[in-house]
């Protein structure tokens, strides 16, 4: 489990890994796949419905640092995203209810490849810590360049009926200088 998740406010204590293939594990993977589908097909309001009202959504900066200072390669002061439920819903509103969210209109064509999923129990029976890798490709207009965003998601999911709600997401990106002109898309 990343240091990020351990230090996050109100973070639960991370417990044992849940084996690959276990019932809960499969449900988590199903949630992540469904989420990727909603975001890639720009069903943003439906994605918004999977967010918990106490959501914390952050994307730290990265810095190139020597091997001996790797902890300092993740910057959590100024970040690329620093949002809560209210602000994410505001972003969704801008994208879905205006006719001038130009950074995504026309929208990017995206693929969120989610893999290397690890699920951990926490000290709360209804919350699971989830680590996954994200490889996101983004194509805009007729540009031949494909923007690639890669990183590790550290999520906290809360059981909600048959599914889950996203309570916390921190995405540790791999680039110190992002190769995409903005993050008008969700990670």
């Amino acid at each position: 489990m990343s240091a990020a998740q351990q230090v996050a406010e109100n973070a639960p204590v991370i417990g044992n890994p849940i084996p690959v293939g276990a019932e809960v594990y499969n449900r988590v993977v199903g949630f992540l796949y469904q989420e990727a589908t909603l975001l890639d097909t720009i069903r943003l309001k439906e994605w918004g419905a999977t967010l918990a009202p106490d959501l914390v959504y952050t994307v730290p900066l990265r810095q190139t640092r020597p091997m001996s200072q790797q902890a300092q390669s993740v910057i959590r002061t100024v970040q690329h995203y620093h949002d809560n439920y209210r602000s994410i819903m505001g972003r969704i509103m801008r994208l879905t209810e205006t006719r001038s969210a130009w950074a995504e209109d026309p929208p990017s064509r995206t693929r969120r490849m989610v893999s290397n999923v690890q699920v951990f129990a926490t000290d709360r029976p209804d919350e699971f810590a989830v680590v996954s890798y994200l490889l996101l490709t983004r194509s805009r207009f007729d540009f031949p360049d494909m923007d690639v965003i890669s990183g590790e998601r550290n999520d906290l999911l809360r059981v909600d009926g048959e599914g889950f709600k996203l309570v916390r997401r921190e995405v540790i990106l791999d680039q110190a200088v992002l190769g995409t002109p903005n993050l008008a898309i969700f990670l």
């Binding site: 994307v59 900066l61 810095q63 190139t64 640092r65 020597p66 200072q69 910057i75 002061t77 100024v78 970040q79 690329h80 995203y81 620093h82 949002d83 602000s87 505001g90 972003r91 509103m93 801008r94 209810e97 205006t98 006719r99 001038s100 969210a101 130009w102 950074a103 995504e104 805009r140 207009f141 540009f143 360049d145 110190a176 200088v177 992002l178 190769g179 995409t180 002109p181 903005n182 993050l183 008008a184």
Partner: protein, 464 residues
């Protein structure tokens, strides 16, 4: 005034033809031509003062960050004597990059190739196996240090230039300093960064962003229309989208050195917050109703220590809110309406670092007053991130626009099209305006950006 020198581009076009002064047009090839870009690296980025960061990024002896001056990487380091030095990040031995990281702390910058070592001040310490004198005997050690840029601190902001004999930073700011002081030199302890800058690549020529930074108010109306639809400027309750055009009125200040400030009328905000007619209020009452971005009411007495009555008058009526420092800096000292009816001020700086004719690195620093309470800094930081920079809902749209301009400027026909700056002010300064500079009032016009291009033109065509 610098004397004109004729220079002809490879296709026979005189360099001085790019900016057409009588009709206020700029040939679009300026946004894509590699030859022009190469000239700019010396004539613009080699001659002007460039933003590198803030001294609060390197508070301790040995602290350093690696930044860019035009196309050159530099090490910005605090030396033992407390001074900040800016050294070319290139080893004088065989040209290896000295620092390969973004930041750190060291008293010895050691080149990993053959081990030559340098102080944070750039001074050469020595080369490994001293008895063999591997740096040779032809040049004294004093000449083997890292080339030093000239450095100045302004409100703690680090600027540097390779033009060792050129104008001072104060001369470079000129009349615009009177206004910039109201942003950067207004408080006892000054500003600090809230963390390292965001950095991302936009596949656009640096001037697409640079000319916009020279106070392009007009684009807000269309490109940032969402602000009036659902954003911070939408009127709640009336269903329709708010008209942003009242925000387009104000005073614009430009400078012969290409600096620009958009001073936007605060009257409506003060009226809303205080319920009183701003014309009836004193300077102090207006400050009390709406303190400058990032300042608390408790900090207001500091303003009088640092600024004149005339500067305060501008701050409470038409404060500079966005604009630029030539060539590639944007400042935003903005008053953002909040859902609860209050106003949150944000203070940001951007540098648009050239990374080739069709690529720029967007560097975004989020600032706050050192003296401000942590709770205010936290709110400023979150809202800055949500509106500006990488994921900022305002600036997303800017960074998506500039690549199209750059691509268009590559077309065989498109490169001969022109950027037009023909919306000319016919007003002049408002009656009783106390500040210096080229001042015009009314709906935002093209003058500030045109003056940006005129200075670019002057530098590009100056005799070396």
């Amino acid at each position: 005034m610098l004397t004109k020198a004729s220079y002809t581009l490879a296709d026979g076009t005189p360099l001085s033809d790019l900016v057409r002064v009588p009709t206020r047009e700029v040939q679009m090839r300026a946004l894509s031509d590699p030859e022009i870009y190469q000239l700019e690296m010396d004539r613009v980025f080699g001659k002007t003062w460039l933003l590198l960061g803030h001294e609060s990024e390197v508070p301790n002896s040995g602290d350093f960050v690696v930044r860019d001056m035009g196309s050159d990487s530099v090490i910005v380091a605090r030396a033992k004597d407390g001074n900040i030095h800016v050294s070319l990040n290139v080893c004088p031995h065989r040209g290896m990059r000295i620092s390969t990281v973004d930041a750190g702390n060291t008293q010895i910058h050691k080149c990993i190739y053959h081990g030559w070592a340098f102080k944070p001040s750039g001074e050469f310490i020595g080369a490994p196996v001293e008895k063999e004198c591997m740096h040779g005997k032809m040049m004294p050690k004093e000449e083997l240090g890292l080339p030093q840029a000239r450095v100045t601190l302004y409100g703690g902001i680090i600027f540097a230039t390779w033009d060792l004999e050129g104008p001072s930073f104060e001369e470079f700011l000129g009349d615009a300093k009177w206004y910039f002081d109201t942003l950067f030199e207004r408080s006892d302890k000054g500003l600090e960064v809230l963390g390292p800058p965001q950095r991302f690549i936009v596949r656009a020529n640096w001037k697409a962003a640079g000319e916009q930074s020279a106070a392009d108010g007009y684009h807000t109306l269309t490109l940032h229309r969402w602000l009036g639809e659902v954003g911070n400027y939408s009127k709640s309750g009336d269903g329709g989208s708010a008209d942003l055009s009242p925000e387009m009125y104000g005073v614009e200040v430009s400078s012969p050195h290409g600096h620009a400030l958009r001073c936007i009328d605060l009257g409506r905000k003060i009226k809303k917050l205080s319920g009183l007619d701003p014309a009836e209020l004193t300077v102090d009452q207006k400050l009390e109703a709406l303190p400058p971005p990032g300042m608390t009411r408790e900090m207001l007495p500091q303003l009088r220590k640092h600024l004149s009555e005339e500067q305060l008058e501008v701050m409470v009526s038409m404060p500079p809110q966005v604009g630029g420092i030539f060539p590639n800096v944007l400042f935003a000292f903005v008053y953002i309406p909040q859902a609860d009816g209050s106003v949150l001020g944000l203070t940001l700086l951007h540098a648009y670092v050239p990374k080739g004719p069709d690529q720029l690195e967007f560097v975004n620093w989020v600032l706050a007053e050192k003296d401000a309470p942590q709770e205010l800094k936290d709110r400023m930081l979150m809202q800055s991130i949500q509106l500006f920079g990488t994921s900022g809902m305002v600036e997303q749209d800017d960074s998506d626009t500039w690549p199209h301009m750059t691509l268009a400027a590559k077309g065989a026909r498109g490169r001969r099209s022109t950027l037009k700056y023909q919306a000319v002010y016919e007003t002049g300064a408002p009656a009783g305006w106390p500040g210096p500079g080229i001042v015009n009032e009314g709906f935002t016009k093209d003058d500030t950006q045109w003056h940006w291009w005129l200075y670019w033109n002057e530098l590009m065509n100056a005799k070396a």
